[in-house]
Amino acid sequence: MTSPSKYLLAALLVCGSAVAIAQEPAGCPQRSGAELVSPKPEVENFKFSKPDLQLLRQVDALDQQIADHGLLYVDPEVEAYIQRIGCSVVPAHVPEHVMWRFRVLRDPVPNAFALANGSVYINTGMLSRLENEAQLAGVLAHEVTHVVNRHTYRSFNDMRRKYVMMDVFEAATSAAPLAGANYPAMLALGNVVPLAVVQTTFGYRRELEHEADDYAVRLLYKAGYDPKQMAHALDLLRHGPEVDLSVRPIFWADHPRLETRVKDTTVLADQLQGQGDTGRLEDAAYMAATKNAIRHDANLDLLLGRPRSALAIAKRLISFEPRNAENYALLGEAYRALGGRAPEPSPEELTSKGKDEARRNLQKLTPAEYEKALLTRPGGLEQWHVNSASAERAFAQALELDSKNPAAHRGLGFLYQDEDRPADAIAQLKSYLELAPEARDAHQVELRIKSLQQNAAAKKSATEGPQ
C-alpha cells in the first residue's frame, strides 16, 4: 500500500509541469476591469478545510526551501520581465491565500509549475525553449489557471479520498481468503484495484491539465496575444536537441499526451480567432529580456551533460546577437563538451535499441565514465577531433570580437589541456587569470596550471632520462 503513495506524493505539491523559490514577494499591481476569464462556480465557492490549510503551509515552506537551496535564478531584469508578463494574465480578483509571484528556476528541463499559494516557477530550460512573449504568457497563464481554479487542493482532496478507499479495499481482500474466498484471485484484486484507483487520480489530474490549457488559450486571446502560440509552445516541448530517453509510464501519467494538447489548443485558438486576426508575438522583446537567463541555462546544460542543448542555445543566441563574444565562447564550450557525440543525434541513437543502450549506460556509469565510453564507440574519437576543431574556431571567433574575453581564454586552456598541449593550455589559462583574477573558479584554474606544469616537468625528465 505504500507504493502508490510514493508516486502520488511527488505530484502533490506541484501543479503544472514542474517547480521553485524566492526573494521577496512582489505580488501583482491591482488590476481593475472585467475578469479575463470567469472561474468555475465550484471554484468561486471553494472553502478551505483544515487539510487544505496544512497543505498551504507546506507549500509556503517549499517556496522557502527552493530559495534556501539556491535554486532561483537571480537577475532583476529577467525577474521583472517574468513578473510583468505573469501579472498580465492573472485575474483582477486575487483568490484567498494567493500572492502572485513569478520566478525563474535554475533547471535546464523545459518545465514550469505553480504552487497553490500563487508562486509560479518557470525553468530556465523552458525560457530557452520558448520563442516569444506570447508563448511565455501562455505557459504562465496555464500555471495561473492551476492556482485560480484551486487544482492543487482539488487533486489533493481527490487523492485523500481515494487513498482511504484503497486502504479499505486492501483490508477486505486481505481478510477475504480467511472467509473462504479464492486466495490468488483476492491477491490479484488487491494489487490491481489500488493501481486502478491511482490511475483515476491521474485521470482527474489530466482533466485539470486540459482545463488549464483551455483557460490559457482564452487568456492569451483576451490579453491580445496570438492564442495559437499556446499550441506552438506545447509543440516545442515535443522535440528537443537531446535524444529523448524518457519512458512514458503506463500508469503514472498525470499529463495528457502532448500531441492531444497541441491539437486541442489549436482547435480552440482557431475558434476564438477570426480570419486574418493576428495577436501579438513580441519575439524580439522576449529574446532581449531573457537572453541572460537563456545563456545561463546553456551553462546548466553543460554542467548536466546536455551539450546538444547548449549548442542549440549558443547558435540561437548568436543569430540574435552575432557580435557578442560571450555567445561564441559559449558555442566553443558546447562543442568542447560534445566530446565523442555528433552535434545531431545519429539515426542509430534514435532507435529503440540505441535509446535502451543509452539508458543502460547512463544508469550504470558515472557522468565521467559515460563521456569516456562515448570516445571508445566507433567514430567517437574522430568526432571528438572534429568537435575540438569546431570549439577552437568558436573560441578564436570570440577573441576576434573581444580579445579580452576571459571565457574564451579559459575554454581554450581547457581544450588544449584535453588535446595534451600543456604549454598552450598554461598560456591561455594564465591569460584567463589575468583578465578575471576574482573569478569564482580562479582557484580551480590555478590548480590546473600547477598540475599541467608538474606533468610537463615529469614528462620532460622522463624523456631526458637519467643523467
Partner: protein, 256 residues
C-alpha cells in the same frame, strides 16, 4: 504474500548501510583536517491513512538542525568543521556563490545513484565530482561533506495498519569529497528507524556510527571511542520490540 514481499523490500532497505573509505584516506596519503559541510538536503513525508503528504516545513527544520549535530560529531574526531559557510551573509548576497553551491549539489546528485548502489566502488576511486569543487576553494576546506536525508513519519493509525513495518525512518547518505580533486573519499549510508524531525540529537549516536570508519581511517585521530553498532542504530523501545526489530538488530551487529 504481498505483505511478505513488502516486508522483505522494506527490510532490505532498512539494513542497507555501508561505510566505505577511499584507499588514499585509509593509507594516510590523504588526511582531512578541515571539513566544510555543504547545505544538507532533506525530504520528509507523512504517511497517514489518507496517503502521503509532504512535510516540507519539517524537512527545512531538519536541514538546519542536522548540520550542527553532524559538525559536533566530526569535531569530536579532531577535525575542524565549518558548518556556517552557507549560512553567512555572503552566501545570501552573492549569486555566484549560491550558483556554484547548487551546481556542486547537482553534480553530487548525478553520482549519488551509483554511489548508493555500488558504495564499494569508492575503494576503486571511481567516484568524482571533478575539479570544479575547487570553485569553493575560498572556504579553505580539505573536504566537503554532502548530506542527503530522506524519511517518513507514520501517523498512529498508519503504524497500526502497517504492522510489522510500523516505524518512522530516516535514510542518511553522506559523502566526503576531496575539496581539490572532487574524489569521493568516504561514503556512508544508513537508515535510522526513528523520528528525528523533532530532535535531531536523537540521531547523534547513529551519525557517530556513520563516521566510525572515517575516524579510524583519518590517521587515527579519533578521540571518541567508536561505539558498538548494536547500541546506536535502532532505537526501538523495548515495549515496541517486534520480530522486525530483532531481525534488524541482528543485521546491525554484522560488519560488512
Amino acid at each position: 504474500m504481498k505483505r511478505f514481499v513488502l516486508f522483505v523490500v522494506a527490510l532490505s532497505n532498512a539494513v542497507a548501510w555501508a561505510q566505505v573509505v577511499h584507499p588514499d584516506l585509509k593509507s594516510g596519503k590523504e588526511h582531512v583536517n578541515r571539513i566544510v559541510i555543504m547545505p544538507v538536503q532533506a525530504e520528509i513525508d507523512k504517511q497517514s491513512m489518507k496517503g502521503g503528504e509532504p512535510m516540507t516545513e519539517q524537512a527545512r527544520e531538519l536541514e538546519k538542525s542536522l548540520t550542527p549535530v553532524i559538525a559536533d560529531v566530526l569535531r569530536k574526531m579532531n577535525v575542524t568543521v565549518d558548518d556556517t559557510a552557507f549560512a553567512s551573509a555572503a552566501f545570501d548576497k552573492d549569486p555566484d556563490f549560491r550558483y556554484t553551491t547548487d551546481d556542486l549539489q547537482k553534480k553530487f546528485d548525478a553520482i549519488l545513484g551509483q554511489l548508493t548502489r555500488k558504495p564499494n566502488d569508492v575503494r576503486k576511486g571511481r567516484f568524482t565530482l571533478g575539479d570544479s569543487v575547487a570553485k569553493l576553494g575560498d572556504l579553505n576546506a580539505d573536504a566537503l561533506l554532502f548530506v542527503r536525508a530522506s524519511g517518513s513519519v507514520l501517523t498512529g493509525a498508519r503504524k497500526v495498519w502497517s504492522f510489522p513495518l510500523s516505524y518512522d525512518r530516516l535514510r542518511l547518505r553522506m559523502a566526503l569529497v576531496d575539496a581539490r580533486t572532487g574524489t569521493v573519499l568516504y561514503f556512508a549510508k544508513q537508515t535510522i528507524l526513528k523520528n528525528v524531525t523533532k530532535d535531531p540529537n536523537n540521531a547523534k549516536e547513529d551519525i557517530q556510527a556513520l563516521f566510525k570508519d572515517f575516524g579510524k581511517a583519518n590517521k587515527g585521530k579519533t578521540l571518541i571511542k567508536p561505539e558498538g553498532r548494536q547500541n546506536v542504530s535502532w532505537s526501538i523501545p523495548i515495549r515496541e520490540t517486534s520480530l522486525v526489530a530483532h531481525v534488524l538488530t541482528l543485521f546491525t551487529s554484522v560488519e560488512v
